[in-house]
């Protein structure tokens, strides 16, 4: 299997925050913690674009590189997860992450900042799959239930795509060919390595 990836189609996102709500509800995320949020670029300006942002589960994740206690690990599916029993809540990952994904609950058991919390691609954590302990720390493990992340499955306009990188890229490519614009995928170059990833192809006559 290829790596699990997110794609947010800015041409389709209507800033409804359905993904944010789905995530919070599915994982019972506490107040003040937003694993996913919708960001509007050029808000109020004609042609503004909205995108849904969370942990992108980077190929070469900077959070993993800077963590002083090595609490991160990557699954075979390319999902970046972390162990809350090891996390010391130092916040280095928050500074390193280009997407602002790491979140820190204000009422934690470890100091003021609490242990880090972030999107798990609905894959839980190191506890037993589907266990109560896993749910309480990381939320539901939908991948082990044979499902895809709740945010993408809930998206009303299917702007947010999640799953096997080959499959979601194929779905997105088909869309771009049909509408002949909007080939840019925000964050792909940063998350998945290539400076050309997610950019519109150099061609004449494109609408975007």
């Amino acid at each position: 299997m290829a790596r699990m990836k997110f794609i947010c189609d800015a041409e389709r996102c209507i800033e409804c925050n359905g993904c944010v709500t789905a995530c919070k509800n599915e994982h019972e995320v506490p107040w003040g913690v937003n694993r996913r949020r919708v960001v509007t670029l050029n808000d109020g300006v004609p042609g503004e674009k909205s995108i849904s942002v969370a942990c992108m589960h980077c190929s070469d994740a900077p959070c993993m590189a800077v963590c002083p206690v090595n609490c991160f690990y990557k699954t075979d599916e390319g999902v970046v997860l972390h162990d809350k029993d090891v996390c010391i809540g130092c916040g280095y990952c928050s500074y390193a992450c280009p997407f602002g994904a790491p979140q820190f609950p204000s009422q934690g058991t470890f100091g003021v900042r609490g242990k880090m919390d972030k999107c798990t691609f609905c894959a839980g954590g190191p506890e037993a799959n589907g266990s109560q302990a896993e749910f309480e720390k990381y939320g539901r493990n939908r991948l082990a239930e044979g499902k895809l992340p709740a945010c993408a499955e809930m998206c009303s306009t299917k702007a947010l795509l999640a799953g096997d990188g080959d499959v979601v890229a194929d779905i997105f490519r088909n869309r771009v060919l049909k509408r002949d614009k909007g080939a840019e995928v925000w964050g792909w170059g940063t998350a998945y390595g290539s400076s050309k990833a997610g950019q519109a192809p150099a061609k004449e006559g494109g609408k975007s």
Binding site: M1, V69, N70, C71, F72, Y73, T75, D76, E77, L81, H82, D83, D85, V86, A123, G124, G125, P126, A128, N129, G130, S131, R140, N141, L143, A144, E145, G146, K147, L148, A152, E153, K158, L161, A162, G163, D164, V167, V168, I171, N174, R175, K178
Partner: protein, 77 residues
């Protein structure tokens, strides 16, 4: 004499062992792969169409789900 020496040696060994540092393992626990399923947990929310432990069927189920749920161009209506 040898008895007292032996007991002395034992005392010294015990005393020094108390000064040793406790082992501190750093790192993460191993995580079960998602295709192994949710184990003994209630299966009420588990999606059908694949067999727990069979990686190929799990991957195929996710691909099918992604296409059916997210690719609106594949729909006929």
């Amino acid at each position: 004499m040898s008895k007292s020496l032996l007991s002395m040696a034992m005392l010294v060994t015990l005393g020094l062992s108390a000064c040793m540092e406790k082992p501190q393992t750093l790192g993460t626990k191993t995580d079960a792969a998602p295709f192994t399923g949710t184990g003994d947990a209630p299966a009420a929310f588990v999606n059908g169409g694949w067999k727990a432990g069979d990686k190929t069927s799990w991957e195929q189920a996710l691909r099918t789900r992604a296409q059916a749920g997210q690719n609106d161009y594949a729909k006929t209506n």
